[in-house]
């Protein structure tokens, strides 16, 4: 269906040339679901967009054959005719990918009119038909709605309808579910799968979510730093990964662990794509690295079950799981003092303005939580359920409409100015987006030192010494004291956020989706750091997340939140093994988990194909 040979993509920038994709070959079989997995910056999206001519400034070499023609040498007009008609695309964020000013229907019929001469009525009828197929009820009426009037899942259905309406033989889905809630994710994946079977469409799915791929993909290609690390059938790759990177990724995924276990993280961070190492791109982070890995380009090995791996290793790697650390003890202690008591907290906003009728919008509807010292409570729910709002109420940033929040036994509503300032030392927040939550124009030392400065705890050399101590604690190099946030990677920035939160030795740290913006290998590093800090310093955490696997891994107890209420609150394991609430069951059923690795398998090395010159 689609065959790429020795495909390389480089993008010239002001800082130098980014080698986004290097010498990647693959072939997509008709009718199958071809998965491309990799972390951010692995080149997976760039590669597919470059093939379709969506990156005008990229320098693309190699060969990509589709329907007997090389896409890379096709004139732009010819490629434009292929896009949409023969190759459909679905993108990650359906809100930003739909034009906000045009109606859903107009955007779909536009695609039809671009390729076929049909009457507006005929185009409309086809669009309505397709919308109905992808599960939009009342499609004829909703045809003229605008994207902002749809929910996230519905928008992604619209994107799918738009991609399918011309019935192209190939669909490229670029992280089609990443921006959606878990329950919606499952629906969208099921829809894609159903459409693929009904219409016989071939799907290339790009994702960082290995669990998802292992469930639906026929073939998988794992990419890292622009290189194709491993390629083979989904079953073979996920059950017995040949490449240490694939194995490491699977091992970092918290869903393969029991609660409280130390995760096996991949150390370090992905290389800069500006200066590629002479040898293997993964060598510096690889547990199996040999001296020659750093200097010589690894060979391409093919195994008996068709798996291909870009690595010096001649046998599949040992499952990393066997060597994992022993289960550490729970932190919960039923006799420890209560740090936080949230009692029947409600929050509502007044709606309506000067000229319209006043109303009330309830965000929190009677929340009760108790948190003891040294404990981690997980707060799970889908977007819009009120979990982040609850975090802000607990942190004292929004006053509750009714009910009380007691921190260290003191009611937040009754605090005077001095008391409030004292309370601000006791509760700290770590935010989701490590890029947006650090001021890019301030030095890291100043950011971490802020709590000391604001509360007049330490100044001058004393402050600097304390900040560097904190940086050491969270695993940052203290010599980077004077650097700016932009010089740090996502995982390191999250460490900066944690260091700042730790500064005043708070009674409670609220983590609001602390790892959801991070890649899975980095995520494991941060989760491990949070765990070890808690054990060393006896910290109390409130951990907010939409990701059940992550929450289970780090939390003692879990509260499941839905529509402003806590629908279930129980011990972490109990939630998973014996959920009581329907909503909890729905959430659990919706999350896809990569299969556990089964071990070496029976695969043998068949041949070594030396990689073409870089």
């Amino acid at each position: 269906m689609l065959e790429a040979r020795h495909l390389s993509v480089s993008i010239p920038t002001e800082d130098g040339t980014i080698h986004a994709v290097q010498d990647v070959s693959f072939s997509v079989e008709a009718g199958g679901l071809f998965g491309i997995a990799g972390e951010s910056g692995s080149g997976k999206s760039v590669m597919m967009q470059a093939i379709l001519g969506l990156l005008p400034f990229a320098d693309v070499t190699g060969e990509v054959i589709f329907e007997g023609r090389n896409l890379l040498t096709l004139p732009p007009r010819q490629l434009q005719k292929l896009r949409g008609a023969r190759i459909g695309m679905i993108f990650q964020d359906p809100l930003s990918s739909l034009h906000p000013y045009y109606s859903i229907g107009a955007q779909i019929t536009e695609a039809i009119h671009a390729h076929e001469k049909v009457s507006p009525q005929a185009a409309r009828a086809r669009a309505v038909d397709m919308l109905t197929k992808v599960g939009i009820g009342n499609a004829a009426e909703r045809f003229d709605s605008f994207p902002h009037q749809y929910s996230g899942g519905m928008r992604q259905r619209v994107m799918i309808a738009m991609a399918l309406v011309l019935n192209p033989p190939l669909i490229i889905a670029d992280e089609p579910t990443t921006a959606l809630d878990v329950t919606v994710q499952a629906q969208i994946v099921a829809l894609l799968d159903q459409m693929r079977k009904e219409l016989g469409t071939t799907v290339v799915m790009i994702t960082h979510d290995l669990g998802l791929l292992s469930n639906v993909a026929d073939q998988v290609m794992v990419m890292y730093a622009g290189n194709r690390m491993e390629f083979g059938s989904s079953a073979a790759v996920f059950h017995a990964p040949s490449h240490p990177y694939t194995a490491g990724l699977l091992a970092s995924s918290p869903s393969n662990y029991a609660a409280g276990e130390e995760l096996v993280a991949i150390p370090g961070r992905p290389p800069s794509l500006l200066h590629m190492p002479a040898g293997c791109a993964f060598a510096v982070r690889c547990a199996y690295a040999m001296p020659k890995c750093a200097t010589q380009r690894p060979p391409l090995r093919r195994f008996s079950d068709g798996v291909e791996s870009l690595c010096w290793l001649e046998a599949p790697v040992e499952p990393i799981h066997a060597e994992r650390a022993a289960v550490s003890g729970r932190n919960a202690d039923a006799t420890a003092p209560v740090v936080l008591k949230v009692d029947n907290v409600e929050l509502s906003f007044a709606t309506g303005g000067f000229f319209s009728k006043a109303g009330k919008y309830e965000v929190l509807k009677g929340i009760d939580i108790e948190l003891r010292r040294g404990e981690t409570l997980g707060l799970v729910g889908e977007s819009g359920c009120g979990k982040s709002t609850l975090a802000r109420v607990i942190a004292g940033l929004i006053p509750a409409t009714s009910g009380s929040v007691l921190l260290d036994g003191k009611d937040m509503a009754t605090l005077d100015h001095a008391g409030w300032k004292e309370m601000r030392k006791r509760v700290q927040l770590v935010f989701q987006d490590p890029f947006g939550s650090l001021n890019p124009r301030r030095r890291v030392g100043a950011i971490i030192g802020d709590p000391f400065r604001l509360h007049q705890v330490a100044s001058g050399a004393d402050r600097k010494w304390r900040v560097q101590d904190l940086m050491e604690t969270v695993g940052l190099n203290p010599e980077h004291y004077n650097r700016f946030p932009s010089e740090f990677s996502g995982g390191q920035r999250q460490r900066i956020g944690i260091a700042r939160a730790l500064a005043l030795n708070p009674a409670l740290i609220i983590f609001d989706e602390p790892v959801s913006a991070l890649d899975v290998s980095i995520q494991a590093q941060v989760l491990n750091l949070m765990r070890s800090l808690q054990q060393e310093l006896g910290l109390t955490y409130l951990f907010i997340s939409h990701d059940l696997a992550v929450v289970r891994q780090v939390c003692d107890r879990i509260a499941v939140m839905n529509k402003g209420k806590i629908v279930e609150l129980a011990e972490a394991e109990a939630i998973y093994t014996d959920p009581q609430n329907d909503y909890t069951r729905t959430l659990l059923a919706a999350s896809v988990v990569p299969p556990p690795q089964k071990g070496r398998g029976t695969r043998q090395l068949v041949e070594t194909i030396w990689g073409a010159p870089a």
Partner: protein, 317 residues
């Protein structure tokens, strides 16, 4: 929608009331004797008293204020101190010149600025972008009056010396009966106004366009297989219109209140020229009238921009 409009109109009226109050008291506390201005230097004390009584200047300030507002609501802004003509008709006489200048200028600067902005944004860093950026820099840094003087020198003075008339030196000719004469007289003022303002719009369009062309929905449009023309104009330009409309509303309103420099350079008897004369003569009723006119255009343009927003952006509906 109707409720929204009614609210906006009520708010606009409130703003105009506050503005007129402010202007009224500002001129009341300002130094200078209006009666002396009306009567001239040779007037006797008795004449001055008579004039004050006629103008109502001898009554307490709050009475004068109520009187002023009451008349203003009915469209009576009083009489010029200088020539005793009604302020309303004085302004009405001056509006055609200003309206002509603004109408032609707007069309010209949009026709020049937006294409240059698009061209610049379509090829960032390239030759056409640098060309566009050069235009923007020159346009922004050229003072209007310098450009006006220069164009007069080149298009009027030099041809005159050579013995023919390419463009007139200025002055305003009514649109009717001969639009060609009207346009001929307006050509240089339009060009001068448009060239400097077009730079602002080119810069705005370029910036917006660069941002929009990086949006995900542009990628979607390309992935659908739309032609580049459609991608740029239907999807790209459409999204850049909103900030342009905001800027345009403010610019038009400001200019309608009097394009002082250009009217002076080209001898156009517009609202701006009237304002300058009134300030020089300390002719308070006219000054108040011109300020209110400017305020009126600004609140009006704000309402129009709000309505356009609703039409342009479905998310606001």
């Amino acid at each position: 929608m109707i409720r929204f409009l009614a609210g906006r109109v009520a708010f606009a009226a409130l703003i105009l009331l506050v503005l007129s109050t402010f202007v009224f008291f500002l001129f009341f506390v300002a130094p200078g004797d209006p009666a002396r201005m009306v009567a001239g230097d040779k007037a006797t004390e008795a004449q001055l008293i008579q004039i004050r009584a006629n103008l109502g200047l001898d009554r307490p300030i709050h009475e004068q204020y109520i009187n002023f507002i009451g008349k203003a609501v009915r469209g009576d802004l009083g009489f010029s101190y200088r020539n005793q003509q009604p302020v309303i008709s004085l302004i009405a006489n001056r509006l055609p010149a200003t309206l002509s200048l603004v109408a032609g200028g707007v069309i010209l600067w949009l026709a020049v600025g937006i294409p240059i902005g698009i061209m610049s944004a379509r090829h960032p860093g390239g030759f056409r972008d640098r060309l566009g950026q050069g235009f923007i820099l020159i346009g922004l840094s050229f003072p209007t009056f310098v450009l006006g003087m220069m164009s007069l020198y080149v298009f009027y003075f030099l041809p005159r010396q050579a013995g023919f008339t390419l463009f007139p030196a200025g002055g305003f000719k009514a649109f009717w009966p001969n639009p060609a004469i009207w346009a001929w007289h307006m050509a240089l003022p339009w060009a001068t106004l448009a060239l400097t303002t077009a730079a602002v719009y080119a810069r705005l369009t370029r910036g917006q366009m660069l941002e929009v062309m990086g949006e995900d929905y542009i990628r979607t449009a390309r992935a659908k297989g739309l032609s580049e023309t459609k991608v740029v104009f239907k999807h790209g330009l459409r999204a850049t219109l909103t900030p342009l409309v905001t800027q345009l509303g403010a610019d038009i309103a400001l200019l309608l209140g009097g394009a002082i420099v250009i009217e002076q350079v080209y001898g156009l008897q517009g609202v701006g020229a009237l304002a300058v004369q009134a300030v020089n003569n300390q002719d308070r009723p006219i000054i108040i009238g011109v300020v209110l006119l400017g305020g009126f255009f600004i609140v009006l343009s704000n309402i129009i921009v709000d309505i356009l927003y609703v039409l342009l952006d479905p998310r606001v509906r």
